[in-house]
């Protein structure tokens, strides 16, 4: 986003394009913040689920573009992140790789470095968290490491802002100098096979941009791109049998049938050698437990762990709704005022109604939830950046796995109680596609904040104030339980197949960087608001049109004199509301309602409730106001409006109300959420699956609930009147 306002980098020879690559939790984002400092400018690539961020800045006479690629452990194409990163590195145009590694965990991090070394690109190694490593007694000989790998290595600390300048200088030097081939040394068996292939290529005078040794390595480890390039050449027919032979030799030597594993072992052995020569571990003072270990003793305690987590979540939700509700009133009154001001400048009645009642009211309803969403995002960003999220997944995976879900599914599901939109977006933390899809499908069953007004209205109408709160709670719990059962059903049917493995790093606990948290929250919030401005504005116009057209002159003519003749203010309002209801009944929306009424009869709903449900497809907030208009109370109906409560109690039988609530609880989330769902799921077909799945579940369970309620209360099946 906001790319059009980005500082334009002139394409000159002093323009350096950098790919920033590293494993997860190495402080890449923090480093990018430290490098570009206040000149940070982030733009998201469109069209991919996982964003790569681009940062632009100038240093001396150089223009830099840094592409922050998603963290990846290795190039196995296991998760979306790995695929995005791998694709970028093999197919896109860039000058240089900065490989960020965690100095406190060098042996694991260099595994990726070894893979990057075969990409034949200029590379600089950023030894991040060097201050932390020193504190932990880890001494790294950076110059010797550079020499062994033939890659410049610079000690930096993004948190303490040290070494940043030296890193940039090194990048410029590396950019200016010719490419140096990194030194990768393999075991004797593998080196022998590399030699054979290399010699073969040399003998046939094969010349490419990269060295023949590098090509041989890539061919042996089945690197796709190199394969494709050589596949069309005449020498391939001779080369292929040699390759097959060579791979067979190597695999026998390593006692495995998996070449990827062979190379992983080779890299690991090479790295062990490098580490032995360059890293020295000073004896720690004592066998004292690290801070992370002591915190973990409490937070992932087999007994206390889950209660502590539940308490923290409860706290987050209290904050979301208590603090978030304060600015809501301001936003609400702002949009009311704004609508009036704008409305006053438009003379045409229809256009004014479209702009004020359609667009401004519709967008306002969405913007209204921004404070809640900001707080929820802050909470989630904190959970993520401190490292606690992985602990939660660890604690809950046992329970969730029984329902076919993944431990990490918990975060999006909990977020779903606030709003489905951020919930769909947060499902990205699930690395695996089928886990993510399954979670996306059941997020809607977690009743979002926008459904609350409907629940409040109906529980208020049918239950004593003393127990209404408990009923409300029961509705939420019921939604969650149905969600879990639905997950199980989906897992056994549509998403059948192997269980997704749960292999997850438990990162060290870290103090979150406020700047980074703020930046994450800001980006996500702007994204949410952008949707409100574009998509929701359009949807609001559509709903407005359907409920206002065609305009019946006969109704207007019938009521106009009556309203004028009305003696009292209340009488007048009642008549206007009646006229509005009549207009709505013959509008397109009303006609649609009448047409689909037979479909809703079995579950005890009449056309009015059916229309309210249709309106709820646009946004759940609209359900209450639509009911207000339909039951001709007043245009300004709200959940606390006692006359609407009265009207509902009077006109709707209890069993129909139960059925209605069940549908509200389970059917498709609002249009905005559906769009986000479609985007996150990765295709319009998933939207139709979701539509079918939620509608069928809602209808079936509403039917059961309706019949059961009739049976228990002994009432006969009558439609609302």
């Amino acid at each position: 986003m906001m790319r059009e306002t980005a500082p334009v980098c002139p394409v000159t020879e002093n323009h350096i394009r950098i790919a920033l690559v590293g494993q997860p939790n190495v402080g890449k984002s923090m480093l990018i913040n430290a490098i570009s400092n206040a000149r940070l400018h982030v733009g998201n690539f469109s069209g991919v689920t996982v964003e790569k961020s681009e940062v632009f800045f100038d240093y001396n006479d150089f223009h830099f573009t840094i592409v922050d690629l998603p963290g990846t452990y290795a190039f196995t194409d296991y998760s979306i992140e790995e695929r995005v990163t791998h694709d970028f590195l093999t197919n896109e145009d860039y000058d240089l790789i900065i490989n960020v590694v965690d100095s406190t965990n060098l042996d694991k991090n260099l595994q990726l470095t070894a893979e990057l070394m075969t990409m034949n690109k200029k590379m600089v190694l950023a030894l991040n968290m060097s201050d932390e490593a020193e504190r932990e007694g880890i001494e790294i000989d950076a110059p010797y490491l550079s020499q062994l790998l033939n890659i410049p290595a610079v000690k930096v600390s993004a948190a303490a802002h040290t070494g940043i300048e030296k890193l940039i200088e090194t990048v410029i030097d590396t950019y200016n100098q010719p490419m140096r081939e990194p030194k990768l040394v393999f075991s004797e068996a593998v080196e022998e096979e590399i030699g054979i292939i290399e010699r073969y290529l040399d003998e046939h005078h094969f010349k490419a941009a990269i060295s023949n040794r590098n090509i041989a390595i890539n061919l042996l480890q089945n690197e796709k791109k190199t394969y494709r390039t050589l596949h069309d050449l005449p020498l391939w027919t001779e080369l292929q049998p040699q390759l097959i032979e060579a791979d067979k030799h190597i695999e026998t030597h390593h006692d495995t049938d998996d070449i990827k594993e062979v190379f992983a072992e080779e890299y690991a052995a090479f790295i062990r050698g490098v580490i032995a020569g360059t890293v020295h571990y000073r004896e720690q003072a004592s066998e004292k437990k690290s801070l992370t270990e002591r915190v973990d003793d409490l937070l992932i305690h087999p007994v206390l762990g889950i209660p502590i987590f539940l308490f923290l979540m409860w706290g987050l939700f209290q904050l979301t709704f208590e603090i978030g509700n304060i600015p809501m009133e301001w936003i609400d009154s702002f949009f009311g005022w704004f609508g009036d001001v704008v409305g006053a400048t438009i003379s045409n009645e229809d256009i004014r109604s479209l702009v004020v009642d359609g667009v401004i009211a519709g967008v306002g309803a969405v913007v209204l939830f921004t404070p809640n969403i900001i707080i929820l995002f802050i909470g989630i960003a904190l959970l993520e950046s401190t490292g606690y999220m992985s602990r939660v997944a660890f604690l809950l995976d046992g329970i969730f796995h029984k329902f076919g879900l993944h431990g990490q599914s918990f975060i999006p599901l909990v977020t779903g109680f606030g709003c489905s939109i951020p919930a769909y977006m947060s499902a990205r933390i699930l690395k695996n596609d089928s886990d993510r899809l399954l979670t996306l499908f059941i997020i809607g069953f977690m009743s979002c904040g926008a459904r609350l007004p409907v629940y409040v209205l109906f529980t208020g109408a049918f239950f004593a104030p003393g127990i209404a709160g408990n009923v409300l709670f029961a509705i939420y719990i019921a939604g969650a339980v149905i969600g879990l059962i639905a997950a199980k059903v989906l897992k056994m049917t549509a998403f059948r197949g192997e269980d997704e493995p749960f292999v997850m790093e438990m990162p060290k606990y870290r103090m979150p960087s406020l700047k980074l948290v703020w930046h994450t929250v800001l980006t996500k919030t702007v994204m949410y608001l952008k949707k409100a401005g574009t998509f929701i504005a359009g949807a609001s116009m559509l709903v407005w049109f359907l409920s206002n057209y065609p305009h019946s002159d006969s109704v207007a003519l019938e009521y106009a004199p009556k309203i004028e003749a009305a003696a009292e203010q209340t009488e007048m309002e009642k008549l206007s509301a009646e006229a509005a209801a009549k207009q709505l009944e013959q509008s397109y929306l009303g006609r649609i309602g009448k047409t689909i009424e037979p479909l809703f009869e079995p579950i005890g709903l009449d056309w009015k409730l059916a229309v309210a449900l249709q309106a709820g497809l646009a946004a759940k907030e609209v359900v209450v106001s639509t009911l207000g208009v339909l039951y001709s109370v007043s245009d300004e109906a709200s959940e606390t409006d006692s006359s609407l409560v009265g009207a509902i109690r009077e006109h709707i039988p209890f069993a129909s109300a139960v059925s209605f609530i069940v549908v509200i609880m389970l059917y498709l989330p609002c249009l905005a959420a559906s769009v986000v769902f479609t985007r996150e799921a990765g295709g319009i077909k998933y939207f139709f699956y979701l539509l079918l799945f939620t509608s069928a579940t809602a209808y079936l369970l509403a039917l059961i609930a309706y019949r059961l309620t009739l049976l228990i209360t002994g009432a006969s099946a009558v439609l609302p009147h």
Binding site: K260, A268, P302, G305, F394, G398, P501, V503, M504, E505
Partner: protein, 82 residues
């Protein structure tokens, strides 16, 4: 998978035990995943603890901590260290 001699896997390790990986009985992406985390032949691992109902195990490999589900841990054949 039937083996002649009883195979020791990571799940046989009590809390606090350390061991050496002998073989990975995983296939495909899972195997690559484990390998990319450094779990491969010859790697030394230590069991840190278990989640409630022992569904998940936390291990230490090198300086990294890793969480594995019981099913995955069972695919990692080990040799107990003395």
């Amino acid at each position: 998978m039937r083996l002649k001699r009883k195979m020791h896997t990571l799940t046989d390790c009590p809390r606090g035990c350390s061991a050496t990986v002998v073989k990975l009985h995983a296939k495909g992406p899972l195997k690559q995943r484990l390998v990319s985390f450094g779990i491969m032949k010859g790697a030394r691992v230590e069991v840190i603890g278990f989640a409630p109902i022992k569904s998940t195990v936390e291990i230490k490999i090198g300086r990294m901590r890793l969480a594995l589900r019981k099913e995955e841990a069972q695919m990692i054949e080990i040799d107990h260290d003395a």
